[in-house]
C-alpha cells in the first residue's frame, strides 16, 4: 500500500456472535484516506453485518474498530455519524414522507447544530443556520441531478433517483468514510456506468473514503482500488482487483468446486 497515505479506518480481528452463531469472525482490514475499497462475498457472507458493526447498529463481540486513529469502542450509532461515518442502505431507507430537500437536510442534523429554542423564538441565528443548511442542500441536489425534484416527496422519485438521494443524504453529514451498501442493486448497465463515475466524483469532490458492498463485479473491479472478500463471515482474500480475480480461493467460493 502507498506509504504516504494515512488509514481512515482500521479494523482488527473484528467478530460478532448472534447467540451461538458466529456471523463475522477475525476480520482485519483498513481503508486509507481517499481510497475506494470493495467488500464482496457470496450472499450471507456477513457483509452488511460488517457495515452494521462499523456504524454500531450492532456492537461487535470481539476486536477493535479504529476510526481516524481513535478507538470507537464506547461510541454509539449517533456518535459514529458525528465522528464521520455515513451510510446508505441495501433496501432504500429514505424518509419517504419527507420532501427530497428535507431528506438531505436531515443529513446536516449533526453538522449544523442549533437549539430548538432558537427555532421557536426565531432568533437571528436560526435564520443564519437554516440558510446555510438550505444552500448546502441546494448544492448537493445540484450535483446529484435532483434540483428539479427538491419539493417532491422522496417516495415519488424513480428508483435510480432514490439511490442517488440516499448518497446525497449520507454526504450531508460530511463523512470521512462513506459506506455504500449495494449501490448498483437493481440498476441497468447504463445506470451502473453512471453510478461508477458518480462514486469517483464523490470521492474526489467530498474528500471522503468509500467502502462499498456490491455484487456487480464490473463495478467492483472497475472502481475499487482494493477488495476484501468475505465468505461465511471469514476473510477469504484481500488485494487489488487483479489479485482477487486471479485468486483460486475466491473463484472457488463464487463458482463452487
Amino acid at each position: 500500500m502507498d506509504e504516504r497515505k494515512t488509514p481512515v479506518l482500521e479494523v482488527q480481528e473484528l467478530g460478532i456472535d448472534f447467540g451461538g452463531l458466529t456471523a463475522v469472525n477475525d476480520l482485519s482490514m483498513e481503508v486509507y484516506d481517499g481510497e475506494i475499497v470493495g467488500l464482496i462475498g457470496p450472499n450471507g457472507a456477513g457483509k452488511t453485518t460488517v457495515f452494521n458493526m462499523l456504524t454500531k447498529v450492532y456492537q461487535p463481540t470481539r476486536g477493535t474498530i479504529r476510526f481516524l486513529g481513535e478507538d470507537t469502542a464506547k461510541k454509539n450509532v449517533v456518535e459514529m455519524n458525528h465522528a464521520g461515518i455515513a451510510r446508505t442502505f441495501q433496501n432504500i431507507r429514505l424518509f419517504s414522507g419527507l420532501s427530497v430537500a428535507d431528506n438531505v437536510k436531515t443529513g446536516f442534523h449533526g453538522r449544523i447544530p442549533y437549539s430548538p429554542l432558537t427555532a421557536i423564538f426565531r432568533l437571528p441565528s436560526y435564520y443564519r443556520k437554516e440558510k446555510e443548511i438550505d444552500e448546502k442542500t441546494k448544492a448537493l441536489l445540484e450535483i446529484f441531478g435532483l434540483s428539479e425534484e427538491a419539493d417532491n416527496l422522496a417516495s415519488n422519485l424513480p428508483y435510480g433517483a432514490q439511490r442517488r438521494l440516499e448518497i446525497a443524504r449520507a454526504l450531508a453529514s460530511q463523512p470521512r468514510l462513506l459506506l455504500l451498501d449495494e449501490p448498483a442493486a437493481g440498476m441497468n448497465p447504463q445506470e451502473t456506468e453512471e453510478l461508477m463515475s458518480m462514486i469517483r466524483l464523490v470521492r474526489d469532490r467530498f474528500e471522503t473514503s468509500i467502502l462499498l458492498i456490491e455484487h456487480d463485479m464490473k463495478l467492483v473491479m472497475g472502481i475499487c482500488e482494493r477488495i476484501t472478500v468475505l465468505n461465511y463471515g471469514m476473510m477469504l482474500a484481500q488485494g487489488t482487483p487483479d489479485e482477487i480475480q486471479a485468486n483460486p480461493e475466491v473463484i472457488k467460493a463464487y463458482l463452487g468446486e
Binding site: V78, L98, T106
Partner: protein, 291 residues
C-alpha cells in the same frame, strides 16, 4: 343569531381540545404511544396556575409561564422515568404504564391539595364584544387566538426547522434517523416537552371557561382531546387541529339543540361513525406495513 353564537362557542371549546390533542398526536407520531397521562398534566398545570395566582399573587402572564415551565418539565420527567425504560417493551406495557402514571398524578394531587374543588380566580374579564346582537366573550376570543398562534408556530417549527425535520424523520424511520446522526431519545424528549408545555396553555384556557380546579379536572378534556386526535387522524398535526375544532362545535351544538345530558354520548357516537367510514381519521395517513 343563536346558531352563530353556538358555533363560536364551539370553536372556543374546540380550540382547547385542539391544543390538548396536539400533545397526543405529536407523541403518537414520534414515540408511537398513547400518553394517557397527558390529561393529568393539564390538571397539574391548572393547579400551578391556580396557586401562582391565588397564593403567590402573580399576574396572569407570569402565572401562565410558570405553569408552562412546570408542565414542560413534568412531561420530560414522565417520559424519562416511566416510558424511556420501556422503549423496547410491547405497546401494551407502555399503554398500561401511561394509565398508571395518570392515576399516580391524580392521586398525588389529591394527597397534596385534597380532593375538594377550588375556584379558579377570574383572570380574564367577563363580557365581550357585542355586534348585531351577537356576543362573543373575551375568553372565547382569547382561546381561539391562542389556538391559532400555537398552531402556526408549531407548523412552522415542524416544517421549517432542523429539529422539526429530525422529528419527522424519527417518525418515519427511527433506525435510519439514528444513522443520520439524529438522537431519537432527544427528539422524544423534545416532543414531550412541547406537548406538555401546550397542555399548560390548555389548562389555563380551560379554567378561564370552567373555573373549577380539582384532581380529576384533566380526565374528561383529556379523553375528549384524545378523541379529537383520533377523529382528525392520530399522528397528524393539522388533523388534531381540525378534529379538536369539529369536536368542540359538535359538542356545543348537540348540547344546544339535542340534549345536554346526551352531548358527550353524541360526540363519541360521531367518533365511532367517522372511524367506521374512514378508519385512519379525517386527515390520517394510510398505515403502511413495513416489509
Amino acid at each position: 343569531m343563536d346558531f352563530l353564537s353556538y358555533l363560536i362557542n364551539g370553536l372556543g371549546l374546540g380550540s382547547v381540545y385542539a391544543i390538548i390533542a396536539l400533545g397526543y398526536t405529536m407523541v403518537y407520531g414520534i414515540a408511537k404511544m398513547l400518553n394517557f397521562a397527558h390529561g393529568d398534566v393539564i390538571m397539574i398545570g391548572a393547579y400551578v396556575a391556580f396557586f401562582s395566582i391565588s397564593d403567590l399573587g402573580l399576574p396572569l402572564i407570569p402565572a401562565v409561564l410558570l405553569s408552562v415551565a412546570v408542565c414542560t418539565l413534568l412531561g420530560v420527567l414522565i417520559e424519562r422515568l416511566a416510558y424511556k425504560p420501556l422503549r423496547s417493551a410491547s405497546a401494551l406495557s407502555v399503554l398500561i404504564t401511561a394509565i398508571g402514571v395518570s392515576y399516580f398524578l391524580q392521586n398525588a394531587a389529591q394527597l397534596l391539595w385534597s380532593s375538594s374543588t377550588k375556584v379558579f380566580p377570574g383572570v380574564i374579564p367577563s363580557g365581550g364584544i357585542t355586534w348585531n346582537g351577537l356576543t362573543v366573550s373575551w375568553v372565547t376570543m382569547i382561546t381561539i387566538s391562542v389556538c391559532l398562534v400555537v398552531m402556526t408556530v408549531l407548523i412552522l417549527f415542524i416544517n421549517y426547522t432542523k429539529t422539526g425535520r429530525a422529528m419527522r424523520a424519527c417518525s418515519e424511520d427511527k433506525g435510519a434517523a439514528t444513522l443520520m446522526g439524529i438522537s431519537v431519545n432527544r427528539m422524544i424528549s423534545i416532543t414531550f416537552a412541547i406537548g406538555s408545555g401546550l397542555a399548560a396553555f390548555a389548562s389555563v384556557l380551560l379554567c378561564a371557561t370552567y373555573p373549577s380546579v380539582n384532581p380529576t379536572l384533566g380526565a374528561m378534556p383529556g379523553i375528549k382531546a384524545f378523541t379529537a386526535a383520533v377523529f382528525g387522524g392520530i399522528g397528524s398535526i393539522p388533523g388534531a387541529f381540525l378534529g379538536g375544532l369539529l369536536l368542540g362545535v359538535i359538542e356545543i351544538l348537540a348540547r344546544a339543540y339535542i340534549s345536554t345530558q346526551l352531548s358527550d354520548a353524541i360526540v363519541f357516537a360521531v367518533l365511532i361513525l367517522i372511524l367506521l367510514i374512514k378508519p385512519t381519521g379525517l386527515l390520517g395517513k394510510k398505515l403502511r406495513e413495513k416489509v
